[in-house]
Symmetry: C2
DNA sequence: GCCTAAAAGCTAACATCATTAGCCTGTACG
DNA sequence: CGTACAGGCTAATGATGTTAGCTTTTAGGC
């Protein structure tokens, strides 16, 4: 066994039973090991959650990176937001693992930075600098996180198509970006 | 004591120590009662959380209602979004109590409906109907929830002014609404 | 004023967890 | 061949949620 294998098991449990079911006991059961043995690989439940969250964030960052490769500006923004949502739809339970303040925690800071960097890279195509870039990044995050967390939690009850709502948000955001690249 | 008094104590604990500190043991200590005695008023921890969440949602709905009274359209939307955020800034820990899928749970459905109704009322000024009203409501929710949850969780690390980011989001949303009332 | 029944409290007990301490074993490496 | 350590184990402790069953308080009717 290895720390990574423990995280694998943790993610399997989360995928199957939701993030509330992630306990050291359940991970131990799944890996066929006594609970205290997990401490040889992981410092405790808090660290395991952080590591699992970091794993998810890295995976998401990778998918986003792949999705925007070769695209720029509106196309890239749209692809990024769509891909972010589709990841959450694919693994609804994983979303809750990602810490919202990843940068504040050493175990998740790297993964968090990777994620933010994709957003920044996409916005670079608009020539946004300094404060403007920060605000735009935050807006994008708000939209992606707001929608994804609501969708993952089953927060949208009505039957109207979620795709349409999300597209409307994307259009809204894209419309707020500069039409000409700022030089 | 009464169920309501138990919820009061729960909210005091959450305000002071965060929603992770909300346990039956801590509520019992604060109300000067043995833990099992709480079951005379509340069915268990899950119900207490739901009831506390409903209380918070009602309170927020009331503040939002007060804030938009006498306003319409862009002014009302702006006031609603600003007031929503300021509630979260005032009581950062309470935000995490509100269930995202309030309508699915009988104990929180009423409060959830109250909240949604404020949003719908404000959007009525634009003459939005049917699916369009649903999408617009969702967009507003995404923006308010996305921003508030990130802010409450300390998810914005950089020093740029959050007020500016939020204003940008509000402008973005307002710009997406019809300029003339649809009749 | 008293009596009874329900409301509200208590203690004891149990299950589940996380966590720590201390022990055992196999294996890689000198 | 011996030793050190990685990785596993059992036992024990302390929170916590929850249930059961008993006691006390209280409110209302007689």
């Amino acid at each position: 066994m290895s720390p990574s294998a423990v995280i694998d098991a943790a993610l399997e449990i989360v995928d199957a039973q939701g993030h509330g079911a992630l306990t050291l006991a359940s991970v131990a059961a799944r890996t066929g090991v006594a609970t205290p043995s997990l401490y040889k690989h992981v410092a405790g439940l808090a660290e395991l959650r952080a590591l699992a969250g970091a794993r998810v964030m890295s995976e998401l960052a990778q998918e986003l990176t792949d999705a925007v490769m070769g695209l720029s500006r509106d196309e890239a923004v749209s692809a990024l937001l769509q891909t972010g949502r589709s990841y959450v739809v694919k693994h609804p339970h994983r979303y809750a693992l990602m810490p919202l303040d990843a940068l504040h925690h050493p175990l998740t800071a790297d993964a968090g930075a990777k994620l933010i960097n994709v957003l920044l890279a996409v916005l670079r195509g608009y020539g946004l600098r300094g404060a403007a870039a920060v605000h735009a990044t935050r807006c994008m995050r708000v939209i992606m996180h707001g929608f994804a967390s609501l969708e993952a939690a089953g927060g949208f009850g009505l039957p109207e198509r979620l795709d349409d709502t999300y597209q409307q948000l994307i259009d809204m955001f894209v419309a707020s970006l500069p039409k000409e690249k700022i030089r």
